[in-house]
């Protein structure tokens, strides 16, 4: 039965319509696959009963004719998305047992389109992390292993559970969120596709906030076509999010022609860094050559402020987080600390927050509080916001000069082993985001597609960065790259 979970979203959609398979069969095989993959810890909450109910409804809609786009497609949903009546904790102890009374806009759209919820996926607490080791539910283990080794590897983060689940064929696709690379980096580490759309494309309503000017939702899938199908449904204007764009969402899937003749693709000099593994250099060069062969013009470009992106990001994101996470105070929902006699309300806040937040979240709230505090605001926060303008201008200049997309590696290394980066070296962990944060700072769409394996057998990804609102173009270029790369490696089941 588990073989059923191997299909892509596009294949499942077509087979459901012809009656070759049923939504219940598909849901059942995902539920079984999830039950048998406990070692990966990809799901923090599975919802088998709800999944079977939703699948039953999907089968009825298919039988009645004219089913909606995702009818019967089983999905994993990152724990950051609020799902009505289903535990939604952002993998944090401070939201202990939180069951929202409402549904996020993105998931509401998915359910309206007939998709089936099979469970909530594990993640780094409040989406702060690049290895999915900072979760109240424990680390996620990648389905991938180095050749001849049983060392446990990170699936990346923060959408690590989603990436591991999709790569291990536990569900057909999953949602993620990306504040500094949290969709693209785990997609690259896990040998799958992940797209972060333009800021404002997906509503942030009902997604637990990390850094509001950077957060965007997007899908993690096993093909570019599936990413197009999912994004088409997830995107759209929502008046409840004032930054949600009121512009039409194209039918992304219909734009996948693979014809990229005449497109101009830039290779940024600043992304060539010392110490980048040879395999990444090689796959990057090969990717550029493939796009050229497909008819694109590939040129060298410069993004001069790239090196300041990471420090600017690690000022802005924690600043916004410290403000967003002020709401977790033990009053209205989630955890409240046990109080001693005589404790007042401030003691309640401070004890609740000390018990509820994990070390990385605490660290970022404190950094954010510091850079926003009197005397430091101008030196750090204001300056970072001005540097952010410069980073955005770097991209705008290239787009004005006729560059359609930019090709880079997604990550500076392949996936590392769990525990290989020491807990007391946060900056080394932050360096994972070096090629992805620029895209969030500039609000642009970015996609990671699998590019190949390194010498130890771990997947690597290439990132394409597109113009604002041009996800259709971007997906088509990614589609052309995907066709040329023909990545077909899958993790050998050991779990």
């Amino acid at each position: 039965m588990t073989a059923l979970t191997q299909v892509t979203v596009a294949q499942a959609r077509d087979r459901l319509r012809t009656g070759e398979i049923t939504a219940k069969d598909l849901a059942r095989s995902c539920i079984d696959a999830i039950e048998n993959a406990g070692h990966l810890n990809a799901f923090c909450e599975s919802t088998p009963d709800l999944a079977m109910e939703m699948a039953e409804m999907a089968d009825q809609r298919i039988a009645a004719g004219d089913p909606p786009k995702l009818c019967g497609i089983p999905l994993g949903i990152k724990d950051l998305f609020c799902t009505r009546g289903v535990r939604s904790q952002a993998a944090s102890a401070i939201l202990d047992s939180f069951r929202p009374e409402y549904e996020s806009d993105v998931t509401e759209r998915l359910w309206k389109a007939g998709a089936v919820l099979v469970g909530k996926t594990n993640m780094d607490e409040f989406a702060m992390g690049s290895s999915n080791q900072a979760s109240v539910y424990g680390s996620v283990t990648s389905p991938w292993r180095r050749r001849g080794s049983d060392v446990r590897i990170t699936p990346g983060g923060s959408s690590g559970g989603s990436a591991a689940a999709v790569a291990a064929r536990l569900c057909l696709a999953a949602t993620g969120t990306d504040t500094g690379g949290s969709i693209r980096q785990p997609a690259a580490f896990s040998g799958i596709t992940g797209i972060k759309p333009t800021y404002g494309r997906c509503s942030r309503w009902g997604i637990i906030a990390f850094a509001s000017s950077l957060d965007q939702a997007g899908p993690l899938t096993r093909s570019v076509r599936d990413a197009a199908i999912l994004l088409e449904t997830m995107a759209g204007h929502d008046p409840r999010d004032s930054t949600s764009a009121d512009i039409p969402v194209p039918e992304f899937e219909s734009l996948l022609t693979g014809d990229i003749r005449g497109r101009t693709i830039g290779i940024p000099a600043e992304y060539r860094r010392d110490g980048i593994p040879n395999a990444i250099e090689r796959l990057w060069a090969e990717g550029a050559e493939m796009l050229r062969t497909a008819g694109a013009r590939v040129i060298d470009v410069s993004l001069p402020h790239t090196e300041y992106a990471l420090p600017a990001y690690y000022v802005i994101a924690p600043a916004e987080a410290s403000s967003n996470l002020a709401r977790y105070d033990g009053v209205r929902y989630g955890h409240r600390a046990r109080l001693d006699p005589g404790d007042g309300i401030v003691d309640m806040y401070a004890k609740t927050r000390a018990e509820g937040f994990g070390p990385e979240v605490r660290r970022r709230i404190l950094i954010g509080t510091y850079v926003l505090s009197e005397g430091f605001y101008d030196a750090y926060y204001k300056r970072a916001q001005r540097v952010r303008t410069l980073i955005r201008r770097d991209f705008e200049r290239l787009f004005d000069e006729g560059v359609d997309a930019i090709l880079t590696p997604t990550t500076p290394t392949a996936a590392f082993g769990l525990g290989e980066i020491p807990d007391d070296d946060p900056v080394q962990m932050y360096l994972n985001d070096i090629f992805t944060v620029t895209v969030n700072l500039a609000g642009l769409p970015g996609i990671s597609v699998p590019a190949g394996l390194d010498e130890s057998g771990l997947p690597l990804g290439l990132q394409l960065i597109g113009q604002p609102w041009q996800e259709g173009e971007l997906l088509n270029m990614a589609y052309a790259l995907e066709q040329a790369v023909a990545f077909d490696a899958v993790p050998e089941p050991w779990w």
């Binding site: 047992s97 069951r99 929202p100 009374e101 333009t198 800021y199 404002g200 000017s213 008046p239 004032s242 930054t243 764009a245 009121d246 402020h305 090196e307 300041y308 990471l310 420090p311 690690y314 410290s322 033990g330 209205r332 929902y333 989630g334 955890h335 409240r336 109080l339 007042g344 309300i345 401030v346 309640m348 806040y349 401070a350 004890k351 927050r353 000390a354 937040f357 709230i365 404190l366 950094i367 509080t369 510091y370 505090s373 750090y380 204001k382 300056r383 970072a384 916001q385 001005r386 540097v387 952010r388 303008t389 410069l390 955005r392 007391d424 946060p426 900056v427 932050y430 609000g443 604002p468």
Partner: protein, 95 residues
């Protein structure tokens, strides 16, 4: 630039997060490491550059100022750690 013990203590207090006295030194070191990493921003010439305040330039929509939902206090209170008679309950605030 480094963060000393007093600054670490002050920031923890501002953020309303209890940090045991024994962890203050370690915390100050950790925060200093991150702040040092941010020093690179000082090398950038930002003269005349405006701060980015809107990610995607757009005109904010206006709407009528009117009540559009409400009357679901039970839902609002459904996740409360402590509530009584339709109110959130907290420790005494005013002596």
């Amino acid at each position: 630039m480094s963060i000393d013990r007093d600054t670490a203590r002050r920031v923890a207090n501002l953020a309303r997060i209890d940090v045991p006295e024994g962890e203050i030194d370690g915390l100050a070191d950790e925060l200093s490491g991150i702040i040092t990493f941010m020093q690179a921003l000082r090398d950038v010439n930002v003269d005349g550059v405006p701060a980015m305040t809107s990610v995607t330039p757009m005109e904010f929509k206006r709407r009528d100022d009117e009540v559009t939902d409400g009357n679901f206090s039970e839902k609002v209170l459904s996740n409360a750690p402590d509530c009584r008679e339709g109110y959130f309950v907290v420790p005494k605030v005013v002596e």
